[in-house]
């Protein structure tokens, strides 16, 4: 027995070492080290950003002077108001999703703030779950490509108005983009809806007519532009819109809604004099 184990051991020691071993070991060591560096730098970036946000939040909340001073800095003003609350990400081969959820802070009307923030979070969570579901279906069917990207832009931020535009980009071969805007009155702490700006619903027709005119005008001036002129009849009463920094109403249509895909997301600025007689007040729209 002893002797046999000895023989076996010898045979074991003589196991042939393949020539590739060196290469495999080197390559794998490098890959592992690279992975560690990546993780480390991500972590460093994350903690540095987190530290800055914590500092900013403390500073803004404890010192009105700092808050005011920061609000003077154009870039920081936005940081103070809208922060990315959380990210959902998926990176699996041909499946990519990057979802950023905005969070509003600093509104005195906590109910409104809470309502908007939970709406943003809920909406994004639902989209994330849908993405995962689609991904699993595609995987089960043998694979495919799927991309989803969401985030937000601060369109307007002045003394009175804050406009947050959330965008959702879906990529399956071609891409579709959806924009959703929220216009917030920071002074009165309310969410502004399109109907709330007008005395009655006659604005729908007035604005629709103007948009059709603008479409015709644009097509005439630029042969590269196309709209579904026959198809578009009117805006919806709660059409996606926002107030720009000049205090003008901007009507927004998602990709494919009123124009072919290459036109992307299209917007129409409505000149205030055209609708001034229909407005409740001249407070927001100028």
């Amino acid at each position: 027995m002893k002797n046999q184990l000895e023989q076996m051991r010898e045979q074991y020691q003589n196991t042939q070492i393949p020539a590739e071993l060196d290469h495999v070991v080197q390559k794998t060591l490098q890959a592992g080290v690279r992975k560690n560096r990546q993780r480390r730098s991500q972590w460093q970036w994350f903690s540095a950003t987190a530290a800055i946000i914590v500092l900013l939040t403390i500073a803004v909340n404890t010192s009105p002077t700092i808050a005011n001073a920061l609000a003077e800095v154009p870039l920081l003003k936005n940081v103070v108001r809208v922060l990315t609350f959380r990210d959902f990400t998926v990176h699996e081969g041909t499946f990519n999703a990057d979802i950023q959820v905005p969070q509003i802070s600093g509104l005195e009307n906590k109910e409104l703030e809470e309502q908007l923030n939970s709406q943003y979070l809920e909406e994004n969570r639902r989209l994330y779950e849908e993405f995962i579901e689609d991904m699993e279906k595609l995987k089960a069917a043998g694979g495919g490509h799927l991309g989803f990207n969401s985030g937000y832009v601060v369109k307007t931020d002045n003394e009175q108005i804050l406009v947050i535009g959330r965008y959702y980009v879906n990529t399956v071969g071609s891409s579709s983009t959806t924009f959703k805007y929220d216009t917030i009155d920071k002074v009165n702490q309310v969410l502004i809806t399109l109907p709330s700006l007008f005395k009655d619903d006659s604005y729908v027709e007035r604005i629709s007519t103007n948009i059709k005119e603008q479409m015709l005008q644009q097509v005439k001036e630029d042969s590269m532009k196309t709209y579904f002129l026959d198809y578009f009849t009117a805006i919806t009463p709660d059409q996606n819109f926002y107030l720009n920094s000049d205090g003008k109403i901007v009507i927004s249509f998602n990709k494919y809604e009123v124009a072919p895909g290459y036109m992307g997301v299209v917007e129409f600025v409505i000149q205030t004099e055209l609708i001034s007689d229909l407005l409740v007040s001249a407070e927001y729209v100028r």
């Binding site: 023989q7 076996m8 045979q11 020691q13 196991t15 070492i17 794998t28 060591l29 890959a31 560690n36």
Partner: protein
């Protein structure tokens, strides 16, 4: 100890004894490609989870453990049954004793569970101390001892037949 230093210690150990770890992997799967896969996976695991190496002086037993676990995992995932037809069975059976001794032992070894194999391999072929075998397999010394004796007895019986 800094993470980068731990990384260096692991890298050094692997580079220096790569043949040893390859042989160990090979003895489980008996196939060059699978053995290389196991080595690759074990190295990647080791480097990226370097935090689990609490005491750098134990790098050897720590990495042995990773290789053994990876190999045993691999076997579990690719449970293979070696089917032998009657002809080759007969051919092997009437071979001369001296030449086929090793094959008998190899068969006997294959009749052990992967866990028992690990003990035999580490103790007799890799010359680890029993205490080291115990720490590789994450068991206490007396358990390893009794399992070693059981495995040896099983081997012995298999050889007698």
């Amino acid at each position: 100890m800094k993470k980068r230093d731990v990384e260096a210690i692991i890298t050094e150990e692997i580079l220096q004894h790569k043949e040893r770890y390859y042989r160990l992997a090979y003895s489980y799967v008996k196939n060059v490609d699978d053995a290389l896969d196991i080595v690759q996976e074990a190295i990647y695991k080791a480097i990226t989870s370097r935090g689990s190496l609490k005491e750098p002086t134990y790098v050897k037993t720590w990495f042995y453990r990773i290789v053994v676990n990876t190999a045993v995992d691999f076997l579990r995932k690719h449970q293979k049954i070696a089917l032998v037809d009657e002809q080759s069975l007969a051919l092997n059976a009437c071979g001369s004793e001296d030449i086929y001794h090793n094959i008998d032992l190899e068969r006997a070894l294959a009749s052990l569970t992967p866990h028992e194999q690990s003990i035999i391999l580490l103790r007799y072929f890799e010359d680890l101390k029993l205490q080291e075998v115990a720490s590789v397999l994450d068991e206490n010394l007396s358990t390893v001892k009794s399992r070693l004796y059981a495995a040896l007895k099983k081997l012995h019986n298999a050889m007698e037949e």
